[in-house]
Amino acid sequence: MAWTRKFLRVDLTNGTCKAEPLNMQWAQEYLGQRGLATKYFVEEVDPKVDPLAPENKLIMTTGPLTGTPVSTGGRYSVVTKGALTGAIACSNSGGYFGAELKFAGWDMIIFEGKSPKPVYLSIEDDKAELLDASHLWGKTVFQTEETIKKTHQDPQIRVSSIGRSGENGVMFACIVNDLHRAAGRSGVGTVMGSKNLKAVAVRGKNGSGGSVKDPKAFMAATQAAKKVLADNAVTGQGLPTYGTQVLMNVINEMGALPTRNHRDVQFEDARKISGEAMHEKRPTDGKTHLVTNAACFGCTIACGRISRIDETHFSVVNKPEYWGASGGLEYEAAWALGAANGVGDLEALQYVNVLCNEDGFDPITFGATVAAAMELYDLGILTKEQIGMEAPFGSAKALVELAQMTAQGIGFGKELGLGSARLCAKYGRPELSMGVKKQEFPAYDSRGIQGMGLGYATSNRGACHLRAYTVASEVLGIPVKTDPLVTEGKADLVKAFQDATSVFDSAGVCAFTTFAWSLADLQPQLDAACEGGWTMEKLALLGERIWNMERLFNNAAGFTAKDDDLPPRLKTEPAKTGPAKGLVNGIDKMRPEYYTARGWTPEGVPTKETLARLGL
């Protein structure tokens, strides 16, 4: 159904909802989802705005392929100025919510202002209204979704909401949809909470807002592309069987599994928290941790994990509400909650992961913040009294208690809610925060995978693996194998991944398709669905245009080349073990090469020629 050609503007201050036509000129230049919503955002919002001020806006947005039979065509994104980072944020989520929004007839929703009291947005096809959410405030994501479905007597409503974290000002709050899919990073849920917006509930029976340009060609193109996914070893076998957790042992072997706040690059208990371990029968109950795999809307890969926590595990004793099947563990969460803290207890990690879903906070930033706190404790800078417990590296008990405190917004949980950058700064050791632009690293140590260091440093939303997943090339050999231990050629590699990913993120499909699909696989699907002649050339330029647009916003917000850097640990403390032993990350060598490749000045500013070439 490509674009529905209309979006909803919700003025939270005045309590109004109104339909506006989509700017189709911009749709031709920015496609949809990440690109198009960011275009609206940068046109409407002052880059200097305080992320938590009413003047910040928050956009929930679909792509032209969202809600179609394209494989993985169920994605939606949240675009705003991130609470955690102060940079442009775009967090992408699967599940069913995005497709439902499209079926209701909306390409996106722009939220502006701040509601005087807690509200939720209810959408049933063309009808949209803000409803009182005072009875939902203080409730978890799980309770909110259940209550809304009961209130409206419709189990098929799809809900995106914040938990208590988003209400309590946890700086890395998520927006969670369909119980366990999340627009996870950069504190987009914190922004939602600051607007007194608890949830968005959507029911779409229209499915008629716009139409695919050439249905016959479109169905043929989607069929061919699905076959490419099914025939690929990663998307056809690895991901359905082990999920993203297929990576735990692989990355550990590479010597690129950040461990104990990046002190080490290999974790002695990696196997215990791996995808393989999730398939093994537990001695306690004879059951496997993993119950099944699961797909998001339209996805023919089905990498999602659904697991069940051991009922006898200390974290859930006498808590039957946690004994059912629930989402997780995915690799990033398993790493951040596990290896990053030296915790090798799979059941504890899944319990904490469920808390992250239940109250809506990002397990990557949370886990990495606990890691920073554990290092501060190890160094004697934080005491048992301050934290409220002993918190050595490796303590599953501390991890579990700290997660509960963060979810509830009590005790030391309030300080963890700051994220590692603000926490470490507060205690006088800012260099111990492992991240870029106040956002924590994901699960790849850039001493062992050099390109990821450049990707982290230059990511427009702060440290992130989903802007330039050079792991594909440096580890898996997709599309070509590059040496993970060298810096040569990584500037061009990172740029190519950044630009291509911008296109996929703007189309309405999942980044994981790129293990099997190149732009050449996406192009015929887009071209059959969307008017405008979507050639490879047009797409390549589109990706680069989006990247530079985001960069211009960040530069105007006050970011400079100094912010495109890694913490000193990764530049001065060599990896102690594994294939990367003795190496640090070569960011200072790669950065200038990257600026040149991008057509930017040595200060990281796009030149006039570059902007003219991209039509910016």
């Binding site: 159904m1 809600g67 179609t68 039979p69 494989s71 069913y96 497709a99 079926f103 098929q156 119980l179 779409g204 029976k205 229209n206 499915g207 008629s208 695919v212 249905p215 169905m219 699905k226 099914a230 119950v291 099944t292 795999n293 699961a294 797909a295 998001c296 809307f297 339209g298 996805c299 023919t300 089905a302 999602g304 659904i306 697991s307 069940r308 059912g324 099947a325 629930s326």
Partner: protein, 159 residues
């Protein structure tokens, strides 16, 4: 040969490609609310179950219809709703023990699976083989084989 839709819920991932294929085949739109096959998600059990009409041999919906709007397709054996005859009385929805005949407010008629004339779009669209279109006489074969596989065939110790 008569064929049946066969559902193996263990293989279902909940992607809803079947629901999109059904709505596209029957209404020319991607709109899962119009789908005649539904996937139900039992969250806390980690189970997703596709479900639609089984085309009962003794079809109570057909027997209950007061205006003879549900008739057997000679080619497929499907019980097919003839919309031009249906008066939307909903008696068939009460008669069906499985709830797989549904009223559609937009049209004022009921809808149910008609096997797409012998080439069910849901089965073609299913990426995991959870929905297949098989020889009706062999319905259940997979399950039978599964249980047969558990039979103890170790050689007996000599008496």
């Amino acid at each position: 040969m008569q064929k049946s839709l066969h559902m193996d819920a263990n293989k279902c991932t909940g992607c809803l490609q079947c629901e999109m294929a059904c709505s596209y085949e029957n209404y020319g739109v991607f709109n899962i609310s119009k789908s005649r096959i539904k996937v139900f998600n039992f969250e806390h059990e980690g189970r997703k179950v596709p479900y639609t009409c089984t085309q009962c041999a003794e079809a109570w919906c057909m027997n209950a219809c007061p205006v003879d709007a549900i008739r057997i397709d000679a080619g497929t054996g499907a019980k097919v709703v003839h919309e031009d005859v249906c008066v939307g009385c909903k008696v068939c929805t009460i008669a069906c023990p499985f709830g797989t005949v549904n009223y559609v407010a937009d049209s004022g008629k009921v809808q149910k699976c008609d096997l797409c004339g012998g080439d069910p779009a849901c089965a073609s669209a299913c990426p995991t083989g959870a929905i297949t279109y098989v020889d009706a006489d062999w319905t259940g074969l997979d399950k039978m084989r599964q249980w047969a596989g558990k039979t103890d065939t170790q050689p007996r110790a000599a008496a």
